[in-house]
Symmetry: D5
């Protein structure tokens, strides 16, 4: 099932640079592993924002929560989740 998710990142300006670099590196690996698994089917950067729009394809709302909760950047994110379904005009 599909969910539309937005993630806005707000890193504290005084975050230790090494912690920041390590967190961003883990975030990228985590994101790409989920893309490889076909769970995180789209991720786009929002122009001019430290934010993304994503589409997830998961087996349950609970699986989506586990994925989002464990994002390395989760403590610094504002997240919205919108359930989607097939549009009658979609080919």
């Amino acid at each position: 099932m599909l969910f539309h998710v937005t993630m806005d990142v707000d890193l504290p300006p005084d975050l230790d640079p090494a912690t920041k670099a390590e967190t961003l590196s883990r975030e990228k690996a985590y994101c790409q592993r989920l893309q490889d698994q076909g769970k995180w089917v789209h991720i786009w950067r929002v122009v001019g924002q430290y934010a993304n729009v994503s589409i997830f394809d998961v087996d349950s709302p609970g699986e989506l929560h586990e994925i989002l909760w464990n994002l390395p950047l989760f403590p610094f994110m504002t997240v919205t989740v919108t359930p989607l379904c097939r549009h009658p005009s979609a080919l």
Copy 2:
């Protein structure tokens, strides 16, 4: 170039049924023609809403405006447009 578009539809309750049916039929044909042309690359229904989330791939902002402005349901829609670009973590 990619744009994230949301469309919320609010049809007046006293809309003539024949006009409504004809407008919805033209909207569906218009939407599917743009999907065929590869311009309207995704359309999803938002669960519980008379609304969709869409992704457009167009040659210019002006082309996107022409497409949206000519939607048969445009006079009854609230539309948001968000420009997207490649996310550094996208595979």
Copy 3:
């Protein structure tokens, strides 16, 4: 899977009384049939509002959309949908 749904009803003041009575009667029957089926697991009135808070237990987001879209009062409702999952402190 569980979804939290709020429904705010706004009936036009000039709605024909017979249409109104018939619609409300169909709404009640529809709601109670879904409660019987175990799909609409809770419905509470919000004090002082023409609104309810509900919990649905459905097989998919698409099934929830079909249920909500076919509510007799849907054209007069503002609906919000929030996906839920198990809380780690729940017994």
Copy 4:
């Protein structure tokens, strides 16, 4: 009497890990004791959020306030309270 309560948690990023662990442990025990007593009748996690939706069944608004005020995480929460009553369509 029933109340719908939402709780959004926002822990400061620099919270001492031991304090955090101890507070979360007390919060869980406190929550489960109230579930055992039949006061906190439902708690669900909101997908993708450090938040819950809950239903309380208490003897008075004052009792609900005492319960919420003494939540170990209360200083870090944004709380909303909505009084509920029986819906005429509820079975």
Copy 5:
């Protein structure tokens, strides 16, 4: 138990004058009967608004809902309900 209630009135400009006068008269009588019964303990006009702030003292949230739902002006009102309890500094 005490509830803080706000009521904002928005009468349609084309309301029939006789209907309007009759509704306002019933509203006033209804309001004063509840004051006599000690249910509607305070009602103040908000300066510059067609609105009031009120305090109700009722036996249950359900009783409050019945009172508000049956206000002759209820279809034209936006209502908010806030549960109150004793303040520790109150004498």
Copy 6:
């Protein structure tokens, strides 16, 4: 003249405990002195919030400002002030 005032308190989590205790003690004494004087005619706790709803009866807007400005918790409060007058339905 009557004013409806709401006060939302947001104490910084790292406030020194002795400072906090002393400030709260002064706040309570200040509040009760004004109740004794008949200036602060009602104070109710909002259920589930570190907030109150109050009614003041003062001689002028300027007197109300002096009272609020000198609240020991004023620097930590978000305050709203709404002027009230007699409602035509009030007994």
Copy 7:
């Protein structure tokens, strides 16, 4: 005592032209009479809006309510009222 008042006017597009002209004429006379009396001490047009910002000097909140409630355009206005007092830096 001084109050800051904003008035936003929203006339229905189908208002009868004679009714509109007569209402605007009464509004202007009403406004100027109150200026003459020293009650309506300032009125400014907000640039680009059918709106004004005004300062009233009245004897009580109740008097201000009477003045605003009887504005010929009151049924078409959104009004905000803010009590003012002397600023310590004012000369």
Copy 8:
């Protein structure tokens, strides 16, 4: 002096087609005359909206108000006005 102005147009769906066409034609002529005079220095369409973003260069706020107030579409517009000045980094 420069002002940033946004105009959102909301035409009633039941507007008489001849009135609509005539109003739009007058709006266009009015807009182009002001461009010719160097008063309306920029006008851009907002993609996906019946709205524009404009820059005006006028002699006074009062002149800007006269221009906006007399727009043929003014009764159907939501307008915002923001005063601008030279940016220290502008070349």
Copy 9:
């Protein structure tokens, strides 16, 4: 030309007391000098708020920006600016 300006002050609670006292003293002198010059024509305290409503009479938007930008408290203020003009009903 006239501008309506609101200023909300939010001083950090840990501001050094000497810095605070010196800044407030400079703010007051700056404000009164501009009143003497006829630039800052009105300043009122908003009751119950660390805020003011002001009217400025300046030669240009740029002059107003210079005045506001150089307020000693500017870094701690939220400011709104609304251009005004003559109201047709003003005497």
Copy 10:
């Protein structure tokens, strides 16, 4: 293609003065280089705000994102991006 961009700056009050001066100097040089290149076609100061309104003319949304993301003040900015196109009334 054209984009309307707003930038609101919020510098932390405890920013090191040397860091601040160096960042502002880099920001100005960066901004002026993009003006020289014809990418940043307009920048105006919003009166009374630490904010600007800008117009960019870029080859793609991705190019705009690179420009904004690399602004020296980007970590301290709230940015909005609105795609524009030709208005049918523009000369």
